[in-house]
Structure formats: structure tokens, C-alpha cells
């Protein structure tokens, strides 16, 4: 049991840092376009990320159409299929999820939740967005470049990524992809440093680390991880760019292409895989940890109950973050690396399951006997738990070498990672948008449209990805343009494929409902007021809604308690905001 001094004995120290002076916009341009206000930057990040995400969504329809009706759509040939796969995967993982969680939610929520006026360096923060936009534009340019975008798969494995057999390998595609990633990483670093320093050094009086909402913990840890993992991708991209442009042989062994001996020799393709996955595995948690954090807050708020095991939740986030740097080679069981490595990496992988399982138990225990309100955010949070557990369990299968080897590169893997890092975080994003939309816009989302969207998306994604496990067990390979007549694939698998595609189109259509809801509610939504969910955290205690530039009025908030004082016995209301000073009976302890 660790006692948190909740304002007793005048434990709130005076301010250590003088209040900052913010940049005052001098014109319309610096107010709305080149804004240095983290909230506007957050919206810019989110809109850009969602827009490019829609491109990835459309690509997934095209892939599904091809898989269900091979040969029907003449414009989708094998090359196009690979290009769609690659762009779909890369956009979803990096340009949508990473940018939206860290650049979007991070920018909006961190300063508000820790009680700061803005990010610590608003100018660098603004640059971060514009560099990100540049990266997105370079990426999208691939669609219009001669030869089209790269078709190397989102893993971009050399040597094939830079050879002529792969779409874009000897054209612009791969160059644009690598440059875009490099630019993205530079932009992200500018923003990421800001998020980390704001959390570490920019908190309000009384906001100790152990009073921060889990959302902040999740985004913070993910950002630290990103700052340490992206360097590996950066280096890998630079080296592959040189292999392709200067004719170096970092990743290129001696190789014959179309009967012709290439100039390359002596490089190591496995080196690329190590660099890529040293980034790639932490990347999974870079999108998962913010989701974990946000979902904890959604559950606690909408079940009107304090989060179960706050301290455990914090440590689980930190431990998952640390462990995820030593598991990367579980993506390389079939790469021919030393079998002893396989043993090591399988062990570390399975160990991560422990803190992860703790988190799941704690979410469920928070719900246990809570006053559950089935609002949209809560529905999405519940859907997240179900989906995440499903994806997590198949992860245990794939983490074991002997099980992974036959399943590797089958639809089982596609099912696994879509469940765990595709659908689950996306569900949290929807929940989070429903939860914070009233703060951002001052209006509530339309509930009916929201329900339609929720049920179609939740049930629909299950209908898409659950059967893929079965396809994978049958041996249907991943990244195949068409199956053809294969003896081990029964005809029923083709019927299943058609079903999956129909569901994918329906789920896609449901997203249009969501977008419509976002726009419609902006004008017609019910007025939300300052704190519609009756939540405790600081962002709901701002003097204005939406919060003004500088977030708080003249005085910065002072924090007296942790973020989870819901249904405190003896209190007048079922929530006590963090800014309410302690009084007699409701000073509380955090259970360890």
C-alpha cells in the first residue's frame, strides 16, 4: 500500500516553473493553418491521418474483391495486388495508427490531461505536423509515379524490394516509400520529443506521475518507444536507399536477376530483417499502448468505477514497453537464423503475455459490479477487450517456433495481426473519438448513427477476420494474388472468401456512416456542455469548451487527487474531479 498524499498538510508545492507565454497568432494563417496550438495541430494530424487511412481502406476493398472473384476485375493484376497490399499495410500501421494515436490524441490530450498550457515547444510541434504532411504526400505520390507504388510488402524485404520483378523496385515506387518513411521519422521525432518532455517536465502542480491518467501513461510510453525504435527503421531505409541508388551492397548478396549477374555481392538480407523488426515489433506496441491507456480511461469513466489496480496498470505498460525491445526475432522464425535464437525469442515473447494478461484482468475487474453505461465509448471499449483477447491468444500460438513454422505466411497470421493490431486499436480510436468529440467540438455525436456504425463495425470485422484463422489452418497462403486450383484448399474456402469480401464491403460502407456522423454532429449535434460524461480528468475541467488557446484561464489547474475518483463512498456526486481539494472522508489510498 502506498499512500498518495492528497493535498493534506499543504502538500501541494508552489509552482517550480513560471507560467509560459504562448505564441500569439498574428494573422489568420498563423491562427488556423500554421498554428502552434497543440489542439489545432492535433486536429490537423487526425484529419490527415484519417484521409490517408481512407485510401488504405479502399485498397483493402480492392484486394478483397480480387480474392473473392479472381479474374473478374481485369484492372487488378498481380502487380497491382502487391502494390495494394504494400500501401494498405504501410499506411494503416504508420501513417494512420501511429500518426493518429501519437500526433492526434497525443497532441490533444497530453497538455490538457497533465494540466499544461500547451506542448513545451509549440513551434517544433507545428513543424512536426507539416513534415508529417510532406511524408504523406511523398507516399501518395507513389500512386502517380511511373511504375506505380512499391509492391514489396509492408516489410519491404530486400533483395526483392529493389529488383525489377517487384513493382516499383526499379522505378520510383521504392524510392518514394523509403524517402517518405525517412521524412516521417524526422517529423515524428520533433513531435515525439515534445510529448515526452511535456509529460516529464510540464505537469501542473499536484500532478504527480502516479496521478496521471492511464491515457497519458500509454501515449507517453509509446512515444518513448517510438523514439528508440524508429532509428532502426531510419537506418534500414537509408541503407536500402543507397543499395538502390548508389549500387552499394548492404543488404544485397550476389544475385542473378533475369539471367543477368548483378553488380551486388556480400550483403546480408537478414541484417535488414533484424533492423526492420527491431523497429517493427515495438511498433505493434506503439499503437497498442495508447489504445491500452485510452481504453482504461473509457472503461473507468463509463463504468463509474475507479480503475482496478492502477499501479499494476502503469507498471504493466512500462514493462510491456521495455520487453517489446527484446522479442523482435519472433517475426523471423523462418528466416534461417540460428535456432538457439528462436528459443530465446519465443521465451521473451511468451513472457510479455503476463503483463498483457494482467491488463485484461484489470479491465474486466474494473467492469465487475460497475455502474456500466452502454454509451458509444463503452461499447467500443468492450468490443476492444473481446477483439484484443482473441488476437492475443493467437499470438501465443504464433510465438512458439514449432507452431509458427507451418502457420507462417498463411492467412492465420493475417487474422492474428488484424485482430490484435488492426481492429483492436481501431475500435479504441472510434471509442476515443466518441468520448472526446464533445470536448473538441462542444457537441455530442448522434447516438443512432453511432450505434449503427458500432454494431456493423464490430460484428463485421469479426466476420471478416475470424474465418481467416480457419483459412490459414487450411494452408491458404498470405500475400497470394489468387489461389488457383490447389488440392489442399477445398472449394468451400472459395465460398468463405466471397463471404469475407461481402462483409469487408459492408464494414467499409459503415465507415461512411461514421464520417457522416462526424460532419453532421458538428453542426446539428446536441450541445455537450463542459463535462458530458461527468469525468474526473483535467481536460473536462477547462473553463471553455472547446478549450481556448492556452487551455486554462488565468490560473493553471492544481491537482489534488488521482484520476479515478468515481463513486467514492460518501461523496455527493459519483465523480470527484482531480481539481477538487481533499476534504475529510474522501482522501483515498491507491491500492497497490
Amino acid at each position: 500500500m502506498v499512500e498518495i498524499p492528497s493535498g493534506s498538510a499543504g502538500a501541494i508545492p508552489s509552482a517550480e516553473v513560471e507560467d509560459v507565454e504562448l505564441y500569439h497568432p498574428k494573422s489568420w494563417w498563423t491562427k488556423y493553418v500554421f498554428s502552434q496550438d497543440a489542439k489545432i495541430i492535433a486536429v490537423q494530424y487526425s484529419v490527415t491521418a484519417i484521409s490517408i487511412g481512407l485510401v488504405a481502406l479502399v485498397l483493402s476493398w480492392l484486394m478483397r474483391l480480387q480474392l473473392a472473384f479472381p479474374g473478374y476485375f481485369a484492372f487488378i493484376d498481380a502487380d497491382h495486388y502487391y502494390q495494394f497490399i504494400t500501401m494498405h499495410g504501410m499506411i494503416m500501421v504508420i501513417y494512420l495508427l501511429t500518426a493518429l494515436f501519437l500526433g492526434g490524441f497525443g497532441n490533444y490530450l497530453i497538455p490538457l490531461m497533465v494540466g499544461a498550457r500547451d506542448m513545451v515547444f509549440p513551434y517544433a510541434n507545428m513543424l512536426s505536423y507539416w513534415i508529417y504532411l510532406l511524408a504523406v504526400l511523398i507516399l501518395a505520390a507513389g500512386f502517380f509515379a511511373p511504375g506505380g507504388p512499391t509492391g514489396a510488402g509492408w516489410t519491404l524485404y530486400p533483395p526483392q524490394a529493389v529488383l525489377s520483378g517487384t513493382p516499383g523496385g526499379k522505378d520510383w515506387g521504392i524510392l518514394l516509400m523509403l524517402s517518405s518513411l525517412i521524412v516521417f521519422i524526422i517529423g515524428f521525432t520533433l513531435g515525439g520529443l515534445n510529448y515526452v518532455v511535456t509529460v516529464l517536465q510540464g505537469r501542473a502542480r499536484g500532478m504527480t506521475l502516479m496521478r496521471m491518467p492511464l491515457t497519458v501513461w500509454g501515449i507517453f510510453t509509446a512515444t518513448v518507444m517510438a523514439l528508440l525504435a524508429f532509428p532502426a527503421l531510419f537506418v534500414a531505409c537509408v541503407m536500402m536507399l543507397f543499395d538502390r541508388l548508389l549500387g552499394t551492397s548492404f543488404f544485397m548478396p550476389a544475385i542473378v536477376e533475369m539471367g543477368e549477374q548483378l553488380q551486388h555481392g556480400g550483403g546480408s538480407p537478414i541484417l535488414f530483417q533484424h533492423l526492420f523488426w527491431f523497429f517493427g515489433h515495438p511498433e505493434v506496441y506503439i499503437v497498442a499502448l495508447p489504445a491500452f491507456g485510452i481504453v482504461s480511461d473509457l472503461i473507468s469513466t463509463h463504468a463509474r468505477k475507479n480503475i482496478f489496480g492502477y499501479r499494476m496498470m502503469v507498471w504493466a505498460i512500462v514493462i510491456i514497453g521495455a520487453l517489446s525491445f527484446i522479442v523482435w526475432a519472433h517475426h523471423m522464425y523462418v528466416s534461417g537464423m540460428n535456432p538457439a535464437f528462436g528459443f530465446f525469442f519465443a521465451t521473451t515473447t511468451l513472457i510479455i503475455a503476463i503483463p498483457t494478461a494482467i491488463k485484461v484482468y484489470n479491465w474486466v475487474l474494473t467492469l465487475w459490479r460497475g455502474d456500466i453505461h452502454l454509451t458509444l465509448p463503452m461499447l467500443f471499449a468492450l468490443a476492444f477487450i473481446v477483439t484484443f483477447v482473441n488476437g492475443g491468444l493467437t499470438g501465443l500460438f504464433l510465438g512458439n517456433v514449432v507452431v509458427d513454422v507451418p502457420l507462417s505466411d498463411t492467412m492465420f497470421v493475417v487474422a492474428h495481426f488484424h485482430m490484435v493490431m488492426g481492429v483492436a486499436p481501431i475500435l479504441v480510436i472510434f471509442g476515443a473519438i466518441c468520448h472526446w468529440y464533445p470536448k473538441v467540438t462542444g457537441r455530442m455525436l448522434n447516438e443512432t448513427l453511432g450505434q449503427i456504425h458500432f454494431w456493423t463495425t464490430f460484428l463485421g470485422t469479426y466476420a471478416i477476420f475470424f474465418p481467416m484463422h480457419y483459412l490459414g489452418l487450411l494452408g491458404v497462403p498470405r500475400r497470394y494474388f489468387e489461389m488457383g486450383e490447389t488440392a489442399f484448399v477445398p472449394p468451400s474456402a472459395h465460398t468463405l472468401n466471397i463471404f469475407i469480401t461481402v462483409m469487408a464491403l459492408i464494414v467499409g460502407a459503415a465507415q461512411m456512416v461514421f464520417l457522416f456522423n462526424l460532419v453532421w454532429s458538428l453542426f446539428r449535434g446536441r450541445e455537450a456542455g463542459g463535462n458530458p460524461w461527468r469525468a474526473t480528468t483535467l481536460e473536462w475541467q477547462t473553463p471553455q469548451t472547446p478549450p481556448a488557446h492556452g487551455n486554462w484561464g488565468k490560473e493553471l489547474p492544481v491537482v489534488y487527487r488521482w484520476a479515478y475518483d468515481y463513486s467514492v463512498p460518501g461523496a455527493a456526486e459519483d465523480f470527484i474531479p482531480q481539481t477538487v481539494p481533499a476534504d475529510g472522508g474522501v482522501t483515498r489510498e491507491v491500492p497497490a
Binding site: P13, S14, Y23, Q201, P231, L246, T248
Partner: protein, 239 residues
């Protein structure tokens, strides 16, 4: 430590020892009580940059150990022909000396900055920038020499092609860091000379007050670039 008083003048009730460290770190407002925002940001950036250089160097080691062709002998390749004799590593020794000296002048600049002696600070920063520029100049000379001898990113006359690729890539990346450092040294030196930090003149883009701390943050970066060089030096030239 338990005896110190808190900022608000009351006796400090925080625990001593390791628990005290934890309590300080997790206390409100700031985790690092003595670090300003700028300094904290630079430290974290350097941590991230360490990973970049770390990945580059590990990639280099992997390439060097796994390439099927022999690696060129560094003490022959990097020798200069002086007075009818091959002197191994002479250029690199001078370069290293110059760069390490520049760390010394930088440290002095920081010191004078905190004493508010702006002209001395600015001069020392200029000297640092000059030494940095010398370093880059000598690196350009070394590159030219190697290129005239036939070293290319994709081949060289003596052995594994990866020698040229890694050499140009890593020294080039480090040289870029030094060059960026020189540019920022000049910018900050100008501000110091003009007295921006004495008047707390506001930044054009940021509208934040200028502070002498900028000199120290600049110094952190500069020492880091030096430190990285020591590793590059050891792994490239001495291995």
C-alpha cells in the same frame, strides 16, 4: 537530503535514500528537478540519436564480419605519405585531436556564458565552430584522397565493397552532424554577441525569451557529436 526544505518553505517530509529518489522522480510538475525543458529535450533527442548511430555501427560490424571478401587493412588505407614514408592514421589522429579540443573550447564557452561574459562566450563559440569546420575540411580531404585512390561506395581496389559503403555512409552521417553543429554554433554565437540573451529578446518564430541556457544546450549536442566520433574512430580505424 532529508534535511532540505521544500520550495514552499516547509520542512520536507519526503523520504531519504532510494525511496527519496523515486519520490523526487515521480513528484509533481517535473521529473528532473534541475533540467529545464530545453535541456531535457536535448538529452532525450541525444538518446534517440544514439540509437541511430548505434544501428549504423552495428550494421557496419555485421557487414564487416559477414562479408565473404577480406576487409581492407585500415592502417594501410588510412595512411598518409609524408616525407617518403607511410604514416598510418596520422590524419585521423589530427582530426580527432581537433574535434576533442573543440569540446574543450565549447565547455569554456558554456562557463563564460553563465558568467554573462558575452563577448568571450561568443569568441569561444566561434573558435569551436572554426575547429569543427577544420574537422569537416580534413574529412573532405580524406574523402578526396580515398576517392582518387579508387574507393567508391560500391567498390574499392583492396577488398570488400562494404568498406567504402559503410565508410562513406557513417563518416558522412557524422560529418553532417558536425556541419549542422557548426551552423547552429554560428547562429547562437551571433545571438550571444548581439546581447539577445542579456535582453531576453524573443525568438522570431517561438516568441520565447532568449536565455544563456541555449549555449549549454548547444554544448550538449557538441559533446555528443564528439563522443560519437570516438566510437567511430575506434571501430573504423583501430579495429
Amino acid at each position: 537530503m532529508a534535511q532540505t526544505t521544500g520550495t514552499h518553505g516547509e520542512p520536507d517530509l519526503r523520504p531519504a535514500g532510494l525511496r527519496g529518489v523515486a519520490a523526487d522522480f515521480s513528484s509533481d510538475q517535473r521529473a528532473f528537478k534541475t533540467a529545464s525543458w530545453g535541456k531535457a529535450m536535448m538529452w532525450i533527442f541525444l538518446l534517440s540519436d544514439t540509437f541511430v548511430f548505434g544501428c549504423f555501427l552495428i550494421a557496419y560490424m555485421t557487414a564487416r564480419m559477414s562479408t565473404p571478401v577480406a576487409w581492407p587493412n585500415p592502417s594501410e588505407v588510412f595512411a598518409l605519405h609524408i616525407g617518403g614514408q607511410d604514416v598510418p592514421l596520422i590524419l585521423i589522429a589530427i582530426m580527432t585531436f581537433v574535434l576533442i579540443s573543440s569540446s574543450g573550447t565549447m565547455a569554456m564557452a558554456v562557463n563564460f556564458g553563465y558568467r554573462r561574459e558575452r563577448h568571450r562566450t561568443a569568441m569561444l563559440m566561434l573558435l569551436t565552430a572554426l575547429l569543427g569546420a577544420c574537422f569537416v575540411g580534413m574529412q573532405a580531404f580524406e574523402w578526396t584522397k580515398l576517392i582518387t585512390e579508387g574507393v567508391r561506395p560500391w567498390e574499392n581496389p583492396w577488398g570488400a565493397a562494404q568498406f567504402g559503403s559503410t565508410f562513406f555512409m557513417i563518416t558522412g552521417f557524422h560529418g553532417t552532424h558536425v556541419t549542422i553543429g557548426v551552423i547552429f554554433l554560428l547562429i547562437v554565437a551571433r545571438k550571444v554577441w548581439r546581447g539577445d540573451f542579456d535582453e531576453e529578446r524573443r525568438g522570431f518564430f517561438t516568441s520565447r525569451r532568449g536565455r544563456y541556457e541555449a549555449v549549454e544546450i548547444m554544448g550538449l549536442y557538441w559533446h555528443f557529436v564528439d563522443l560519437v566520433w570516438v566510437f567511430i574512430f575506434a571501430f573504423f580505424y583501430l579495429w
